[in-house]
Amino acid sequence: MRERGFTRWIVAVPMCLLALATIYPMLFTLNVAMKSRREYVLNQFSLADHLTAANVADAWSSSGLGRYTLNSIVVTAGAVALLLLLGSMAGYAFSQVTFRGRKWLFLVCLGALMIPFQVIMVPFFRVLGQVHLLDTYPGLILAYTGQFLPFTIFLMTSFYSRIPAEVVEAARVDGSTTLGVYRRIMLPLGRPALLSVGILNALFCWNDVLISLLVMQSEQHRTLMVGVTALRGQYSDNIPLFAGGVLVAAVPVIAIYLFFQRQITDGVTAGSTKG
């Protein structure tokens, strides 16, 4: 649609302001993280005297963030691997394999999308306790898999249904079994989808705090986001140090966003335009 210069200007001003409002809080925090406590108290807005990662390093070494980061990596990697495996298997079956009860089972998976974790939190906690998986890596990995699997199946089904049926037919004529098609066609052809869905799930798991707070009870098993919530009490009188700790937790996500922006928005919009 063609727009005159005048309209463009009217539009450009609020958009610019909003972009500023979106990005400034992050830049402010970055700046604060490089200041000394004294510098911050004197003037919150001034640019930091010099670029230093001293606060980040201090926060890292004095608060156990390293241990928490490792926990987060283990749990996120485990959950994403399991989600991609189970999600792509089911997604392939639902999109390309004709079998009895397909519609009903798919409906069960989608229906589970409407059960938020908050609603099943209490019995989930009890069940996990009964099978002795509370406060363990497998426990949290399973919790995340259960939480994000319906969405993963939904996305994988919609991605896989874009692969033309002729491709599958051709493979079958060449002698592939149904499971062979999964390994030889769905996995290689679905790589962009797997990347997209995998990154989305990694962000979900990495960013979660509620499930992790519930499942991981001991300090040594804390994930990074739970660790960050503890920083607040620890450094309440030293804002720059607090900002440094926050930065530690934010940097991996920022890096992923900068690298995989397109894949992330692809995943999000695939989930929306299909349903």
Binding site: M26, R100, R102, P116, L149, S176, T177, A249, T265, T269
Partner: protein
């Protein structure tokens, strides 16, 4: 690879020359093959689907049923005993839970704002204002950050002697206790949630715009429609499904995605003013050690979600038609 070899044998009759297909014997054989192939499909499909279904049923559906059952039993020394609707009565009388429900009402009030902002922005971006790609990336960025990190950042920004109040001080507005004032705190938290998530709705709106029929826009222009008219008569009706979807997902996001923010920014305070049902459930289950009461609160939240979800069911139905 014995399975695939076996399959090659089964496949053979199907590749019989087309000329022979009319012969009754071949037709019969093909049908038999098809039936056996369906059998192979059936087994393979079960292998593919069963692990996922076990996890979904075991970790989501079963807990939901258990939760409904827990909500009718007692806590403490009445643990496991059937108490009927006693927990629900306790909830109705609990001022903290009432605040949580009242705050859900506030969420509903905030919903039109949370949808309108990204809707208007997406329209601007669709019109390809200069730098639209840059704006899209910037606006979406907070979506990928954890609520915990966003909450922590705004803890710094909104503190009484923090930067926002210093800025307001410059234009002569005295320090506002954004997170300490019981009437203001929940508004601050909802505001931060909208700030953090509008990029999500924006991207969904833009996906909707990309499916918009360009010829309709051209026709509108030929008829001399101005921008507001075009939006009202072409864009809004064409995007009605997208708008509906954004309303539902934004509401669900508000009902289930604010725990991290509340936990970090206010911890439910001051005086329980920023409780939301999810936070109430968590505190009641963990700190207060009343899982049955927490289950009852869960069921109330689930009911609210179901009402919102009725719209979602319609959307899901549309999606399953493709299967």
């Amino acid at each position: 690879m014995t399975v695939s070899e076996e399959h090659t044998v089964i496949q053979e009759p199907q590749q019989a020359p087309a000329a022979r297909q009319l012969q009754p014997a071949t037709t019969a054989r093909t049908t038999a093959t098809r039936r056996r192939r369906l059998g192979e499909h059936q087994i393979a499909a079960l292998v593919l689907v069963t692990p996922a279904l076990l996890i979904i049923v075991g970790l989501r559906v079963v807990p939901l049923v258990l939760g409904a059952q827990y909500s009718l039993t007692g806590d403490g020394d009445r643990n496991g005993l059937f108490v009927g609707l006693a927990n629900y009565r306790t909830l109705a009388a609990d001022p903290v839970f009432r605040t949580a429900v009242k705050n859900v009402g506030l969420l509903f009030l905030a919903l039109p704002v949370a949808v309108a902002i990204p809707g208007i922005l997406a329209t601007f971006l669709f019109l390809k204002v200069p730098g639209h790609r840059f704006y899209r990336s910037v606006y979406f960025f907070p979506v990928v950050l954890s609520p915990v990190i966003i909450g922590a950042i705004f803890n710094i920004l909104l503190s009484v002697d923090g930067p926002l109040n210093q800025l307001l001080g410059v234009i002569g507005i005295g320090p506002v206790d954004w997170l300490g004032n019981p009437h203001l705190a929940i508004v601050s938290v909802i505001g931060v949630h909208i700030w953090a998530t509008f990029g999500m709705a924006l991207v969904i709106f833009m996906a909707g715009f990309s499916t918009l029929d360009q010829s309709l826009l051209d026709a509108a222009r030929c008829d001399g429609a101005n921008l507001p008219q075009t939006i009202r008569h072409v864009v809004v009706p064409e995007l009605s499904q997208t708008i509906q979807f954004v309303f539902v997902t934004t509401m669900i996001g508000m009902l289930t995605g604010m725990f991290g923010l509340v936990y970090v920014m206010t911890a439910g305070g001051p005086g329980g003013a920023t409780y939301l049902p999810e936070f109430y459930i968590w505190v009641t289950q963990g700190q207060l050690n009343s899982p049955a009461l927490a289950s009852a609160a869960s069921m109330v939240l689930f009911l609210v979600m179901l009402v919102v979800g009725l719209a979602q069911i319609r959307l899901i139905k549309r999606a399953t038609k493709e299967v």
